[in-house]
Symmetry: C2
């Protein structure tokens, strides 16, 4: 069920960084595991969209019936890597009632007064919900490291702390789907250029994006560390080449579908006497 002819293997396997993984060797224009082209992807996505939506309804029903399971999609990637597009086009496939979306920006003064995981814990999905993090606690070992916002003896223990935190979250019933969207320097330049050329895209542009771009190598290094140190069996990372937007959307749709399938949920049984309720209803006017 989780595999199908078009994917050589489950996307959750194909996209997982293996031993000796090097971020610098990723073909960001690649489509690993996908046996087809863009047109095939569009056809396939239409069918998988329905499946994803159906599975999400099962999860939602499970939560409403007192279940404890949930799914958390963690999206990380450089500016223009397409995090927002994933939310719009993939998360947008399912019922908004079952989605808890949080975008993590520069910490607010209140957030700064707390441990860096405080705001993350507050945003974890409730039972039955699909949580979506646009950026996350990983910024605390990415931008924080690159900009040297705290010394090494502060960020260094965070990898283990994050792993322990995610173990707790998973133990409480959440499947965590971590996605690193990777674009090339060339592709980022094209996307930034487009934002500077189209008045309907100016709002997506921030001069700070170029400052971050100038630190590309440092970010590559910190992403490498994240993938090396926090891709655990409990909460593995998935590396999604994102130069082709259609592939990134297809891949994340598949990853979410596989995560929901792994819960193996059925419709919740009634917690009331069906026949008695039918009789009560029939006895009422009109």
């Amino acid at each position: 069920m989780s595999t199908n002819e078009r994917w050589a293997a489950p996307a959750s396997q194909s996209l997982r960084p293996g031993p000796g993984f090097r971020i610098s060797e990723v073909d960001t224009g690649g489509t690993p595991g996908w046996r087809g082209d863009k047109d095939d992807a569009e056809d396939h996505l239409a069918a998988r969209a329905t499946r994803l939506s159906d599975l999400q309804e099962l999860l939602y029903a499970h939560g409403r019936a007192g279940g404890t399971r949930s799914v958390l999609l963690v999206l990380q990637g450089m500016d223009t890597s397409g995090k927002g597009g994933i939310v719009r086009h993939v998360v947008g496939l399912v019922d908004p009632q079952g989605v808890q979306h949080t975008s993590f920006g520069v910490p607010t003064p209140v957030e700064r007064e707390h441990h860096y995981l405080w705001r993350i814990r507050n945003a974890l999905p409730s039972p039955g919900q699909l949580g979506v993090f646009d950026r996350s606690h990983y910024e605390d070992v990415l931008v924080v490291r690159v900009h040297e916002l705290v010394p090494a003896d502060v960020w260094e223990p965070r990898y283990d702390e994050i792993n322990a935190f995610e173990e707790q979250v998973v133990a409480a019933g959440t499947v965590i789907v971590k996605v690193a969207l990777l674009v090339s320097l060339d592709e980022q330049r094209e996307r930034l250029r487009e934002r500077l050329e189209r008045p309907d895209k100016y709002w997506k542009y921030n001069p700070g994006d170029l400052d971050e771009r100038s630190r590309w190598d440092a970010y590559q290094e910190t992403y490498q560390a994240v993938l090396d140190r926090t891709s655990t069996d409990t909460a593995p990372w998935h590396v999604v080449p994102a130069d082709k937007k259609w592939f990134a959307r297809l891949a994340v749709t598949e990853l979410l579908t596989e995560a929901l399938e792994s819960l193996d949920l059925g419709w919740p049984p009634p917690d009331f006497d069906v026949d008695a309720e039918k009789a009560r209803l029939a006895a009422m006017r009109p």
Copy 2:
């Protein structure tokens, strides 16, 4: 722009309760203002869905650029009136990044310690967002009155208080779209029966729904009072016949589209020097 050939007048006008409005006289199977049938509605909805999505992106961009406007959809209706379906099928048309959805149930112990508007204020949409309330502060003059949870001298002043509250919300930049979904007793029976007959719908059924159904007349009376006393020029109600699900979805899509059009937003101007940024980008590797 806000009217079009298929609607006799803007839906926000056609669906607004006029002087002498009586809830008991509403044809819940009607399609007021719509010049067409279900097939026409499906064709029309596809086009309007794109328009709604485009307008919501403008609102989102406006918020990201420091704007203050937002939209709040307030959904009220008896069990099975289709509030959830509106969220799934209408709100689901737009980008989840720009949606803040809140479902208001029985108040929690913490909520009970506060004024009834406290949890409402906390859930108001941020600038640029489409807020969606599945039930709302109106429960505090609906279920609260029907079940006599507080005495009349407590609920009586709430109508004026709600009007004053909504005036503040509108003054702060939010367009409020209040929708009362009305189904008939017959249609509710059919929908409840379906929930009792289909195992994939059991989770939507609650024995308490029949207790509420037995108080139908009392609810009609309190809805009448809500429509009489809180349909203001600042935040008017819209009465949407909901026996035909397709009409309810079409109508709310139109109401939201008209609300977003009323904001008359354009793409935000750049808050940076476009040419300078282009030059900076061009000067960077690769």
